[in-house]
Symmetry: C2
Subunit: 120 residues, 2 copies
């Protein structure tokens, strides 16, 4: 009977998918910024503190590939490129925000425990 093991593997797969989507430093911050609505490349870079041009590009490419973000180019001079959350991307907002809310609710507890652990 390998049903239990297979079920566990399935769960693991989902978890790893989540991490592949938003488990890096920038994806969640970019998605969070895009909550404000469609934005241009430059707006995003100014909005997400500390992100480099390179990482913004890589992050947007990944989010686009995974279907969370939509990229629209308007051929003009100077060029204008807008990024917006897709329906799929917006559907991710709920679960993510509940996690953020958890962090808000427990930040003091975490910080407290961490310092207490360093100096018992």
């Amino acid at each position: 009977m390998a049903a239990a093991g297979e079920a566990q593997d399935a769960v693991d797969w989902e978890v790893l998918q989540i991490l592949a989507l938003v488990g890096d430093k920038w994806s969640l911050l970019v998605i969070g910024k895009l909550r404000d609505g469609p934005q241009r490349f430059g707006e995003l870079q100014r909005g997400v503190r500390g992100i480099s041009q390179r990482m913004l590009t890589l992050t947007l490419r990944k989010l686009e590939r995974d279907g969370l973000v939509n990229r629209t180019v308007q051929a003009a001079v100077p060029p204008r490129v807008d990024y917006r959350l897709t329906v799929l991307g917006e559907s991710l907002l709920g679960p993510v925000l509940s996690l953020v809310q958890w962090a808000v609710d427990h930040r003091d507890e975490i910080v407290e425990h961490r310092s207490h652990h360093d100096r018992p």
Copy 2:
């Protein structure tokens, strides 16, 4: 008026805290395994597919330091060490599972979009 910027920074801080807690490959899997109840080091290593001894140790140390996991040693030969989720750790389960549920609900959509993006 810098209130908006400060609020955004606060949100960013929470997001980065989440990533520091569970944004790595193994933390979520270990937490997921600990849902089954308190377990020994060896059980965890067998339960979390592919984790090395080193990474299990490091992950558990981090989770312990952040107050998500409790470590109890029973002096004996051979030594026995049990790990269990703390109350704080269990409170994280809800938000995390809603995220997992999201991945379950949209896995087909994600896979489909990904392959479609590779071959347009």
